[in-house]
């Protein structure tokens, strides 16, 4: 096998532009969580290398990149089948600069549990040359809401120490935009087409993060790539807790949501501004806590924007803006308000 080399880009100050994450045996300590963007750009390199074949403007690599800035040391990444797995490891290429394992669509959480159990066993017999090795699992919404849910629920119940990051692009984008448990109501997909009979998907979105809260695991949070500081802090908290942690990250998909390639971050921001996707975290001690922009909206409700702001930039909701469908848009707004009001009632730091 020929020696693998990374592209060399001249850098005046800081780390090389691209690097593999190599930790010498006996490596001790913790990588710092850097929140200053310029220091971040000098000292941190993502766990994902360029040359992956995800679509232009996809938000999933942004989530992986931001999450990897918050890793605290040697980390093993487990991947469920999905866009991320398929596009980053096209044989014989791999985009991962960290150890990576993929098993099947339905058992990402079980594979993660096995990795974690092996780490524990090696540590017990003194064969692990590191203080801690973290397990981070990346799953798509199909592999989490639908197919991999019982594996995830089981792993959460057994209490394995891992962080599960769900990048939610709200349909089976990898196989051609089929509806999933994560698709919002009235969204167009190829298996819930908009026409005379139905106006897109007729069911609600499964509240996956609330379901994980019901498991009473140590840490649950929601995040978007647009609120990058918030996402990094949450990932670090999720890695630091003992036991399973779950992060639900919204990942706009330009192919499936039918928007321009440059709008992924803008749409994630609007999802939070319209309260379609509120940012919060939950721990057994503190209960629900709103964070970042959602906390600002709870304190000052005039910042909350109508759902049209979120809908107008996406082709999958195009039919909602037609004059004859005003009723549906109203229903969608009511659905979003219901979820938001419910969260406000439960959030400990929301003004009462």
């Amino acid at each position: 096998m020929p020696k693998q080399t990374l592209p060399q880009v001249p850098i005046k100050k800081g780390e090389p532009a691209y690097k593999l994450w190599i930790f010498e045996p006996g490596w001790k300590g913790e990588l710092p969580l850097i929140l200053n963007p310029r220091q971040l750009a000098e000292q941190k390199r993502p766990a994902l290398l360029p040359g992956h074949r995800l679509c232009a403007g996809c938000a999933a690599p942004i989530i992986v990149k931001l999450a990897s800035f918050a890793f605290r040391g040697p980390t093993i990444v487990v991947n469920a089948t999905g866009c991320l797995e398929v596009a980053t490891t096209i044989f014989p290429y791999t985009s991962w600069a960290v150890p990576w394992i993929h098993n099947a669509f339905e058992n990402a959480a079980s594979t993660g549990s096995g990795v974690e159990a092996a780490i524990k066993a090696l540590k017990k017999t003194g064969r692990l040359p590191y203080e801690h090795v973290d397990v981070v699992i990346f799953g798509g919404d199909g592999g989490t809401f639908d197919i991999g849910f019982q594996a995830l629920s089981g792993a959460a119940e057994r209490g394995h120490d891992f962080l599960y990051i769900l990048y939610d692009n709200e349909a089976y984008m990898n196989t051609g935009i089929q509806r999933s448990g994560g698709t919002p109501p009235f969204a167009w997909t190829t298996t819930s087409p908009v026409g005379k009979v139905i106006p897109g998907k007729q069911q609600a979105k499964k509240p996956i993060a609330d379901i994980m809260v019901a498991h009473r695991i140590p840490y649950v949070a929601t995040a978007t790539p647009a609120h990058w500081l918030d996402l990094m802090k949450k990932v670090r908290k999720g890695i630091e807790v003992e036991g399973p942690a779950f992060i639900h990250a919204l990942s706009p998909c330009d192919r499936g949501w039918r928007h321009g390639t440059e709008l992924a971050i803008e749409i994630a921001r609007r999802a939070v501004d319209t309260c379609y996707f509120p940012l919060w975290e939950w721990t057994p001690e503190t209960g629900y806590m709103l964070t970042d922009r959602s906390l600002a909206i709870a304190r000052n409700p005039s910042l909350k924007q109508p759902i049209e702001k979120f809908v107008e930039v996406q082709g999958r909701f195009k039919h909602l803006l037609k004059p004859e469908n005003r009723e549906l848009l109203k229903k969608f707004q009511e659905y979003v308000d219901l979820v938001w009001e419910d969260l406000l009632k439960r959030a400990a730091n929301a003004p009462k």
Binding site: E42, P50, G51, C58, Y93, T94, D254, L263
Partner: protein, 92 residues
């Protein structure tokens, strides 16, 4: 045809072994981002948001690695001072 191998001889799984940096995704691009260094305030948002790790910060200024940039335009859209513009790819 080669002789069929049993489960003991077969490898346990597939191992992707080449770095994807060998695969240049730059030819997917239709528009290319161009940085105006006079306008750039070095806020690093493009470096943080680039999905293809194509924005390089060398300690002094931002450059774009056109080997990997897929031309999505996210950096130009998110730039707070509009220092990045999307220009058509030069044709030879």
């Amino acid at each position: 045809m080669a002789e069929l191998r049993g489960y003991k001889e077969l490898p346990i799984g597939a191992v992707p072994f080449r770095l994807s940096t060998d695969y240049k995704t730059g030819d997917w691009r239709a528009l290319r981002p161009v940085v105006d260094h006079n306008k750039c305030v070095k806020c690093m948002l493009c470096w943080i948001y680039c999905p293809d790790m194509a924005v390089i910060w060398d300690g002094e200024k931002i450059t774009i690695n056109y080997d990997y940039c897929k031309g999505c335009g996210l950096c130009a859209h998110e730039c707070p001072v509009k220092a990045i513009t999307m220009e058509p790819e030069p044709t030879e």
